[in-house]
């Protein structure tokens, strides 16, 4: 089934039968279990630690502290290696550390024969702290004389600004100026499979790590860097993974596990985080505050906009300033025909670590921008959909950052389609002054996003296709299937380009850095776009080789031949086999005098980063006295170029919207402002929407053709999460006249604002 068809996932049967194997499913009876000893204060230093009682416990194999690990600081971010070392990620992490930067920081680690013994041993460790006052809020971190969270390093880990067009002139020309402050809080990914990995040694030299990771090739490099060993000694294997959403785009468990197995004679050692540990000690979404200023003419023309953002990365840099930077750039394409200014800072604080999470800072920045856009539209008295259509990106507009034309853009069509789906005009025309307790509201919000990370990082992908003896092919890519459906669209691409039926295309789902072609992994919604260009090249090359071989066997001209399903046919006589692929394949393998295994092995770099667009439309009912929002209808409409597979595309959008609705209405990591303690690092108190919390979710696509993609597609994995929160916030404003500039719009937040506004 080729491109555009709703093909079933190639891994669906493995998953519905429970036979798909994830990291924890590779059971070894001799597996040792490691557990971290974590700090119970948010900021300070270990004065002394005594692990003698833990070591003496029966069943404990070893205990290591910060004194036992290499003094090598490494960066954990899942970015490709930076050739320009001045742009390398911030190396601020030790395997174990005596400096404490958040409540849960890693001080020591216990290795025991089983989980219970390891837990018991943790209780026997005695530690004495010197405690500093935790720096939680940005005000505390930025206050004069604040202690450096990483001594010798500023608490501001990154700052940058840019201007496109003449901002000063834009604002001086503006007839209406809106300025507002917006805030988003910390969120958690809550992938259902917690972080888990194990490591062992195959011989005296090579370390094998099986890990639930989005980035196996990057993990290999970072293990090498953290332990100062050649990268080729490390092998990372990624089996099926139970979700990541960016939390597994950092290298968290692999370096310590490699260290442990090396210390323990190559024995297998595993760390499976508990849910509570995973929510506290891996990665989160950055809290952000933003000031947005928008200048317009009275006719609704946007002439200038400026954003000033502050991102909190928490205890360690993880992705550093990249998230604040990327999200500032990606939204410039949304309303490109205006002067744009952006200034951003990223700071450390004594809270859990923020890193990559689905859409990489854009949900925060776009919440601020799209709330401010609605506030502006209200100020000038123009319909918020019309305002966006008037100012939104169109094909051939210039990308403000590089002055190149936007080659594919369906934003306006997305807005028009969404407006129709929700019945905007009809509902608005029937709208009367609302005064009661129950009020209805309509909201809209847009986004623009990128596809991959070029030119900030290399965009490289590998694909290898092998013709088997039976005329089928095996396909290996470095693109990691993390649930998004990468393997399935790769199979469709091969089918499209080679003319083979789907059942004759076998995808090797596991990535193994010893054998898999290089690809940095699943992030930035890059996978189907970047790997697509590599797969196209490999599939075209193998098709050419097969046809050349067929020409030799049948004495025909290559240009007269075509692959059709399981056969080779003449181009002008489709349906009539002149030789079957099986016979051809057998000949290539077993003819004594000619042929050889036919393969294509391609590594391809893509030098583009097309923008994608879309919007959310939502219809809500607000119960003012209960401070509750009910979503009646919600639609996302996306321009992601050509839709490769309508079934998996719809799945991505629905799941992303659900995550966006959670962010809008119920999710927040609750951090005690005094102690830095997280109060809800579990699935009972952190409110991920369950099936009963969500409305029916609708989506649609406006298909454009992206010329830099072999199959016309652009990013889709992350974007659906971006625009639901501002759309819901704008609908609440429409319903009540109350502008709430923070999410989540949970009852306690609505109560505070409704009271302030005199509604209750």
């Amino acid at each position: 089934m080729a491109i555009g068809q709703p093909a079933n996932r190639v891994d669906a049967v493995a998953k519905v039968t429970g036979r798909a194997r994830y990291t924890d499913d590779f059971y070894r009876p001799d597996m040792l279990i490691a557990k971290y000893f974590r700090s119970t204060i948010a900021h300070g230093r270990v004065i002394s630690i005594d692990v003698s009682k833990a070591k003496a416990l029966n069943g404990v194999e070893a205990v290591f502290t910060y004194e036992d690990v290499p003094k090598i600081k490494y960066a954990t971010a899942g970015h490709p290696y930076a050739l320009d070392r001045s742009r390398a990620d911030v190396a601020d992490t030790l395997l174990l550390d005596r400096q404490i930067r958040y409540m849960g920081d890693e001080i020591a680690i216990v290795v025991a024969v089983d989980d219970l013994t390891a837990s018991e041993a943790l209780e026997l460790i005695e530690v004495e702290y010197e405690s500093y006052s935790p720096l939680i809020s940005p005000e505390q971190v930025l206050s004069k004389g604040a202690r450096e969270i990483h001594p010798g390093q500023s608490n501001v880990i990154g700052e940058h600004q840019f201007e496109c067009g003449d901002l000063e002139q834009g604002f001086s020309q503006a007839e209406v100026v809106h300025e507002g402050q917006y805030e988003t809080h910390m969120l958690q990914h809550v992938h259902i499979e917690n972080h888990t990995a194990f490591a062992y040694m195959n011989d005296l030299e090579h370390i094998v790590i099986i890990s639930s990771t989005q980035i196996p090739h990057i993990a290999r490099r970072i293990v090498g860097e953290a332990l100062d060993i050649p990268w080729g000694r490390v092998r990372v294997v990624k089996p099926y993974i139970g979700g990541g959403f960016g939390a597994k785009q950092d290298v968290i468990l692999e370096p310590i596990l490699a260290f442990l197995t090396m210390q323990l004679d190559g024995r297998p050692v595993k760390i499976s985080m508990t849910r509570e540990e995973c929510m506290l000690c891996t990665r989160n979404r950055h809290p952000m505050t933003a000031t947005v200023k928008i200048g317009t003419l009275k006719d609704g023309t946007m002439v200038a906009r400026h954003m000033d953002t502050l991102f909190s990365t928490g205890a360690y840099a993880s992705h550093g300033h990249s998230i604040a930077a990327a999200s500032g750039s990606k939204n410039t394409l949304l309303y490109p025909r205006t002067a744009i200014g952006y200034h951003a800072r990223t700071i450390y604080n004594n809270i859990p670590i923020a890193g990559a999470m689905r859409a990489y800072g854009s949900p925060q920045v776009v919440f601020a921008l799209e709330s401010a856009v609605d506030d502006t539209a209200r100020k000038i008295g123009i319909d918020p959909v019309e305002f966006r259509i008037q100012n939104g990106a169109r094909q051939n507009d210039l990308n403000p950052l590089n002055q190149k034309p936007i080659q594919s853009c369906g934003l306006v069509e997305c807005l028009e389609k969404g407006r129709e789906l929700i019945g905007w005009q009809e509902k608005m025309s029937q709208r009367r002054q609302q005064t009661g307790n129950i009020r209805k509201g309509l909201g809209v919000a847009c986004f623009s996003y990128g596809t991959g990370t070029y030119p900030m990082n290399v965009e490289i992908a590998g694909a290898r296709i092998i013709l088997n003896q039976d005329g089928s092919v095996h396909v290996q890519t470095g693109a990691t299937e993390i649930g998004q459906g990468s393997d399935t669209v790769v199979a469709q691409m091969v089918s499209q380009t080679m003319g083979l039926p789907m059942e004759n295309i076998h995808i090797v789902s596991t990535q193994d850095t010893d054998v898999t072609p290089f690809d940095p992994g699943a992030y930035a919604s890059r996978q189907a776009y970047i790997v697509g260009n590599a797969v196209y090249k490999a599939a075209s090359e193998l098709r050419e080789k097969i046809l050349t071989y067929a020409a030799e066997m049948t004495d025909k001209s290559v240009s007269d031949l075509e692959i059709e399903g399981r056969n080779i046919v003449l181009v002008d006589q489709p349906g009539k086999a002149i030789i079957s692929l099986i016979d051809l394949a057998l000949d290539t393998y077993y003819h004594t005098d000619r042929g050889g295994q036919l393969t294509a092995d391609v590594s391809h770099k893509t030098l583009a980063n097309p923008a994608t667009f879309g919007c959310t439309f939502v219809d809500i009912t607000v119960d003012i006295s209960l401070c509750r929002i009910r979503i009646n209808e919600i639609f996302n409409v996306h321009d992601s170029g050509v839709i490769l597979n309508h079934s998996t595309a719809k799945g991505q959008v629905e799941g992303g919207m659900a995550m966006g609705i959670g962010a809008a209405l119920s999710e927040q990591v609750l951090i005690d402002p005094e102690s830095g303690k997280v109060n809800n690092n579990n699935m009972l108190d952190y409110k991920v929407p369950t099936m009963i919390d969500l409305p029916d979710i609708g989506c649609a696509f406006v298909e454009t053709v992206e010329p830099t993609s072999a199959y016309g597609n652009k990013s889709l994995g992350e974007p659906p999460v971006i625009s639901p929160p501002p759309a819901i916030r704008n609908a609440l404003l429409d319903a009540t006249g109350v502008a709430i500039n923070e999410i989540p719009l949970a009852p306690q937040v609505l109560f505070r604002h409704f009271k302030q506004a005199g509604l209750i």
Partner: protein
């Protein structure tokens, strides 16, 4: 302390010597290799470890293995027979209700139990949503799962053999 228990697992009788502190999840995964059963939280919040015991769905991570003595347990491994998927499994494939697949085993057991209990009844979307609210899925937004459950209950869908 160890103890022998005898239970039926996917139609086959098993006698196992178990540590009395073990959860059913640990025993089924580690002693019988039934790795479809996933642990997502260990405290009964996420539903990834859902199995059917006699006629009820339970979170096997907070169900002591000793309690399963004398009972009949169904896990996802037993749902496809002779290389044929059950109606519910097939529904998950055809509706695209699977993404990362980690919550899928638990969800399929929940849908299976729900469909078996409600066959022939008029069931609302609200009832389907309520019945599945103990299983968290972070990938799908549940829309496709709602569709699967609804379709499996449509008149004319016969029970699996």
């Amino acid at each position: 302390m160890n103890q022998n228990i005898t239970l039926t697992v996917n139609g086959r009788e098993k006698t196992l010597n178990i540590d009395v502190r073990s959860s059913l999840l640990e025993v089924l995964r580690d002693q019988l290799g039934l790795t479809s059963i996933k642990q997502g939280c260990g405290v009964g919040e996420c539903g990834a470890c859902t199995v059917i015991i006699d006629d009820d769905i339970i979170d096997s991570c907070i169900y002591l293995a000793v309690w399963a003595d004398g009972k009949s347990v169904r896990t996802l491994e037993g749902e496809s027979k002779n290389a044929v998927l059950s109606t519910v499994q097939k529904g998950y494939v055809d509706e695209g209700a699977v993404q990362c697949g980690f919550c899928t085993p638990g969800l399929i057991m929940t849908t299976t139990s729900f469909v078996e209990k409600n066959r022939g009844k008029e069931i609302s979307h609200e009832e389907i949503r309520k019945a599945h609210a103990g299983n968290t899925c972070r990938c799908t937004g549940y829309q496709t799962i709602l569709t699967v459950a609804g379709k499996c209950l449509e008149p004319g869908k016969e029970p699996d053999e």
